[in-house]
Amino acid sequence: MLQKTYDNIDNIGRAILSVKARDVHNKELAEIIYPNGKKTFAQVIALNGEDVTLQLFGGGFGVSTDCKVRFLGKPLQVGFSEDMLGRVYSGNGQPIDGGPELLSDMVRAAGPSINPVKRLIPKEMIRTGVPMIDVFNTLVRSQKIPIFAKAGEPYNRLLANIATQTDADVIIIGGVGLKYDEFHYFRQQIEEAGSKSKTIMFVHTHRDSIVEGLMVPDLALAVAEQFALQGKNVFVLLSDMTQWSDYLRQVANAQDQIPANQGYPGDLYSQLASRYEKAADIDGAGSLTILGVTTMDDVTHPVPDNTGYITEGQFYMKDGYLELFGSLSRLKQQVNDKTRADHRSIMNAMARLLSEAEERVKAQKFGSVKDDYSLRLLDYRETFKRELMDPFRYLKLEDALDLCWDILSQHFKKEEVGLSSELIENYWPEKGKFKILREVNHE
């Protein structure tokens, strides 16, 4: 196709440019050619008569009215080949690890979603060795689930741990708005775990333009989807989707869109959903699991709020612990009846008692907690936190379940835990004979 070049740029913003041009396609890719010959990419995002609005991958700074715009006659694509494994790419799809550029097939980014009838019901547990996940909020193959945490929590460590401790065939890391040391950390973790040869990174750091940051999930997911279609079980890590949403807000604002909540565009939900929904267990092929990070202070903020409605639960991390309340795996019911007979029941009993204990914590502040049962609940809460909530303690699921029984029997009588008589008979430890729990010295 003939590539047309235009030089009548009207308007240059922080991330947006408009130019007069004809016969341009919506979402077409373009090149901005600087007077000195340098080139950056841009993509058409709106058409109005001859006015064409483009989103600038390199940002608007330094673009001048004597730059030229060349429309490339193709949509946004990303390379796909097995040789990409082990490599690092930027948000515009170019390698940034010093290695050679690859000649590979191009696949479309941000393509349509898979027909729901081609999806399988997720039925396969992913063992992570993290008790708060395996016991209480089991991760399931093809799940989409983010970690909700304040900035500064060790969420990237947990993300890298989960990806490398499980049996993923391919790991794809999409870093959006990463600090350089976080990027470095991911690389190091992957290498130390010996997973480099099955990992591809798409990385956007703070020195890159926000539009490149916006592209990262689409590139990562498009490549991941291709591996999944080849029958691989793929893990995609996206960190941090709050920054991504912030970039979306900036671009929407630059386009004069009417903001909905806290300045975010009205389509924030749909934008997040079209990325997270790429997670799927595909009938006749492989699977795509998404683990994300959503940094937040308050769960009612538009980004975690919209995310929560889209993803299949969330892991809530606070003060370095994985919390029980606020965490949820929507798919756990698909698998936790096939692990061990007591799994579901003990999970619920532990949670109910912890919730009772939480009520006492409030009451304790009024100084009104003096009775023996309440005091035992509060002790139980301490043990629970110490023994189970550390996201970096590795325990096999079965050991973690035994540990739960140990903890219950340490603090409660059989009739206090609300479990069926049959389960109690089978699993209640004999007095003082714990399987996993070690006595803690209370000095």
């Binding site: 027909n115 009838v117 903001p259 909905a260 009451a363």
Partner: protein
Amino acid sequence: MQKAKGKVVSVNESLVGVVCTEGAIMNGEVAYIQIEDGKRLKSEVIDVKPNNMAYLQVFEDTSWMKVGDLVEFTGLPLAVKLGPGILGSVTDGLQNPLYELAKIEWFLERGLEVDPLDENQKWYFIPKVTKGDMVTGGSILGSVPEKIFEHKIFVPFSLYGNYTIDQVVKEGDYTIDDIIAVISDSQGNTTELKMAFEWPVKTAMPFYKRSVPERSMPTGIRILDALFPIAYGGTACNPGPFGAGKTVLQHSLARHSQADVVIIAACGERAGEAVEVFKDFPELIDPRTGKSLMDRTYIVGNTSSMPVAAREASVYLATTVGEYYRKQGLNVLILADSTSRWAQALRETSGRKEEIPGPEAFPMYISTLISAFYDRAGVEILSDGIVGSLSIIGTVSPAGGNFDEPVTQATLLSTGAFWGLSRALSDARKYPAIDRVDSNSKYPSLLHQDEVTFLLQLLRDGKTIASNILLMGEKGITDEAYIRYQKAELLDAVFLQQNSFHEVDGVTDPNRLRTMFNMVKDIIDAPVSITGKAEIRSHFNFIRQAFLDWNYLKADTEAFDKQKAKLITLVNKKSYATENV
């Protein structure tokens, strides 16, 4: 009307500006945009502007569209095809059957359209009219067996006035494309009739005769059936923050509600949830019909990553199909999940049209649209005296879990029951996490009104005493108050809470609800003569344990009766003890 033509002049995501080059355009008509790769994208006129301009909302991805692309208007509003073959199927928001689409492409590529109803399937038609009979729109021509019932074949509802039957086919196998009757009006103009016809989705079907919802519809969910019921033909608003159990509740309703037909409108929600339904339901047997649960189910799936503009269509599509089955004399239940996503789709389009925004940037007219939607539910007395009903349960996903937002508020004004989901309850694993005190319903319960009041009073007392315990500790309240508190906790634990994943506890039929309620009432009424908080708590712990064990046993079994006796013994052990001493 002459079909109009036009050209694209602007493209902004799903909103496309078009200038009409010939013919007249109608607000609400369907148009197709022809793009360079040959695909035709379905769209709908949503605004007509000066200088022959119109705005279209496109139901597909608008990538690769160009200024100057040709637009063909159809002159017809967005419509649904009604006829035998809908039950058991899964379609997108524009009635394309998803299983058929999957045979063409694994991904939902744009520009694909498939006939909504299988045109090859033969249906055994039994005529009920003969030559010379007078008919009008909505008259019954005959019937075909469809899965669980006799599907009536109507004269299309859009035909007004009187017609005479000129011809009608003999009893036998026909497809929906075969002509089964020919009718003529008084001027002698003839019309050929098939078993299926179209109806515009945004037009509510007129009621033959409308009645009010006053018969409760058992859902198998105790807290609803006892305290916050829904009626046949009623409406309910089910808002809740994410993670409070909306999805599980919806699935439970879809499985266990005593409706004849269940329509699930998965609007802008996770694809996985719809998948669970249409992959699980065919395997499940509906105890009421003895047939597959899927046989009474129709799923409209416009999930969150499908084109946003089609969300609105998916809600109206479900409603129109619901109205059609109500005309069949059936009790239909629509589960619309989630109406907030529909509202958000309207917000996106409204924003692109640069309309002046209302609260939280939703369009000003959102409340009117929501009310009009719920008004399509109701009880209908049909021409043959048979009663059909359409109930709508709409979930709402309020931003930040805050019920003060516009969609929740508009829904509350239009519905008869309010089931507010609470994060505090779901954190405490008290499922279903429907707020026990703030929810309400104006429909009749399966229990008597005074029994409902009795339960609600205990729950309110329990809540008050709980807050006193929080402030003053267990020692700060009397044993008597503590017993009342324990009774309220017991009521919650053994009656209101329900394990929807358990085969037996997951569904409670009206008989068992009555048995359980009587037991609960006996326990609450029984005086407890124990002193000391620890002893009182222990007593109720034993009762709770025994009651929960009972809940998991199948009714009318020996074990069930034995456990019941054990429970009664436990309760009686500690009452009247004082008199004995």
